[in-house]
């Protein structure tokens, strides 16, 4: 019966959303349609605050002063439609509004809220007051200062995290592209069982990431993991290698970052392979014919034809892959996130997650997030700028 209740609950919610969207559409439709009628302004001013106020009252969070705010906002909206939009492009905007209201509420607002948090002090001791009154002590730039002076976890510093993140991002993307390119080149030959191979090769990507990472973590277990079993057998069979230090290793506690990197490389190669293979297959074979006649060797063809022609597909994939890797919490958290887990493998984003939810330092984590975002934004803009410049050159 609980199952029925859950269906009912969720279906009701979807209906509520649909109703909300319908109201929203009706509301803006009215603005587009009647923007030049004489009664437009009065009707709008009267209707909107009433509607929202009713809704909020029903929701139980109405406050004095809200009404005045709503009237002011509505006046601004009315003026905008009357003098700026004037009923033009109505259909395009009506189609966009639901998605963008959703994005505004669940993407833009949380982002601004995070900025707000970063200038205040929300932590385990203040969260109850905030829940009840909605007010927080203002601390200015204190949180930002702390980001650079104190450890987000227990000992690792911001600068260590930054270096580790850059190392992590670079090494992962490098091996993704290298492995993906090599496999794509191999698969681009006219070999039999190609489809079968490709199916097997995308399995790490296709598996649910949680399962894949947890399974790989199992393989790095010090006694029962595949890796150590094999290393142990090698050391047994070839004692001279054991003398060189080959043997079972405490992967998860001694080399956590290396372990995470190996796992993430394993996870990420299939995506690159598929993208690059798509690019390779779209290159017309007549370029290779022409290059054959021109006398290019295998590596010359790779250098002068394949690479430049795959670049338009490769560059966006690398950009995307870089951002994904930079922001990858999943792998690191799933490998090291359990109670008593190490912080030797943490990168910026995983430290920020742990600071918020393991150490409950909310505002600190918000400031940390803003710093990380600014950093990523700066890198991306510089990079994209360079990319555009390169594009113009061609």
């Amino acid at each position: 019966m609980e199952i029925l209740r859950s269906v009912y609950e969720v279906a009701g919610f979807i209906l509520l959303i649909a109703l909300g969207v319908a109201l929203l559409e009706g509301y803006f439709y009215y603005h587009f349609k009647f923007h030049d009628r004489p009664w437009f302004a009065w009707a709008g001013l009267a209707a909107f605050p009433l509607l929202v106020w009713l809704g909020f009252t029903a929701g139980g969070i109405a406050k004095p002063g809200l009404f005045a705010w709503l009237v002011a906002i509505e006046a601004a909206v009315l003026a905008f439609f009357r003098y700026a939009v004037k009923g033009r492009h109505s259909l395009a905007y009506l189609l966009l509004i639901p998605a963008f209201v959703g994005l505004a509420l669940l993407l833009v607002y949380p982002f601004l809220f995070e900025v707000y948090l970063s200038f205040h002090d929300l932590k385990l001791t203040t969260i109850m007051t905030w829940k009840n009154t909605g007010t927080l002590p203002f601390v200015g730039l204190d949180q930002y200062v702390k980001v650079f002076t104190t450890s987000p976890l227990s000992e690792v510093t911001f600068w260590q995290l930054l270096g580790r993140t850059l190392l992590w991002t670079f090494s992962n993307v490098f091996f993704h592209v290298l492995g993906g390119f090599a496999l794509a080149l191999l698969l681009n030959n006219a070999i039999s069982f190609k489809g079968f191979y490709r199916t097997l090769l995308v399995i790490p990507w296709a598996m649910p990431q949680v399962v894949a990472v947890l399974a790989m973590r199992g393989e790095f277990h010090s006694q029962n993991g595949f890796v150590n079993i094999i290393l142990g057998k090698i050391a047994e069979a070839y004692p001279f290698l054991a003398g060189l230090g080959v043997g079972p290793v405490q992967w998860l506690s001694d080399y956590p970052l290396l372990t995470c990197t190996i796992i993430n490389v394993w996870l990420g190669i299939p995506f690159m392979m598929v993208v690059i293979l798509g690019g390779l297959q779209s290159i017309s074979t007549s370029y290779y014919d022409a290059a054959d006649i021109d006398g290019a060797s295998y590596f010359q063809k790779l250098r002068y034809i394949t690479l430049p022609l795959v670049k338009p597909v490769l560059m966006p994939a690398v950009t995307l892959g870089t951002v994904w890797t930079f922001n990858n919490i999943n792998v690191i958290y799933l490998v090291t996130g359990q109670a008593g887990g190490t912080e030797q493998a943490d990168i910026l984003v995983s430290a920020l997650y742990k600071a918020a939810f393991t150490y409950n330092r909310y505002s600190y984590s918000a400031a940390f997030a803003i710093v990380v975002f600014a950093l990523l934004f700066f890198i991306s803009v510089t990079y994209l700028h360079g990319f555009d410049a390169a594009k113009d050159e061609r």
Partner: protein, 301 residues
Amino acid sequence: MTNHAKTGYFGALAASAAEIMESPVRRAKFFKYALIHIVVLTAAGICVYPLLRILSISMRPGDRLFSTDLSLIPDGATLAAYASLLKDTMFLRWLWNSLIITLATSFIGVSLASTAAYAFSRFRFPGKKAGLILLLSSQMIPAGMLILPLFLMIMKLKLMNTYLGMIIAYSVSSLPFSIWILKGYYDTIPRSLEEAALVDGTSQVGAFWRIILPLSTPALSIAFLFNFTTAWNEYLVARVVLFSSKQYTWTLGLFELQGQYITQWGMFAAGSMLVTIPVLAVFLYSSKWLISGLTLGSVKG
């Protein structure tokens, strides 16, 4: 035996092998392809092996879960772990929770994306470029960054530990990507189809509803699938929003199974298999579309 060896299938194989070895060009080619097969097979083995290991662990009898045995089909294989997973844990309930949250999320996400993408594909209006840039740059926001404010909002709305809280948190996470994919697909549908519909007497909205949407089924499925897999495999938001094991999604459930008690290794493996097989099947079945969608999106980006 002596005479028979020269006839039949193996005889023919031997004959053609001998033929290959005669010509230097074909011999070089033969070795090249043999090498490719060996390398690709090794890589494929590395890709598949962990999955096979889970399968093998899930079938081990309880007393040998921690053996260092590497054989894929264990001695005395048993399905006991599956039985106890379904009987002793709330695994089915977790799957149900995941399913209902994921379906609702995908439905909302695809509906919102389908209309917004149409506007971006077919109309010129002030703010179009800004909107597209917003969509692209939203991909740059670290995923972990928004978890905190969303968590606080959900707490404030008193939706902790509920489906609704999860659906709200998930619903727009794949929206930019879905819009991007759908816009790319709409762009490939010739405008003349809608113009014909307009001449036949539908409105612009009618043309979208009756012509464009039915034609876009493949792209809509990709977008749906993408929304679905993202939400289905999500872990980090669920970790902070859901706290009673009754409300867990399967990702939380599995993590708990693997994390805490030694005896649940087998059940973890069994649960992993049960979750992975359908996901894998859907992914491989749809991978052609998914990949074309991805490359389309990335090329245009």
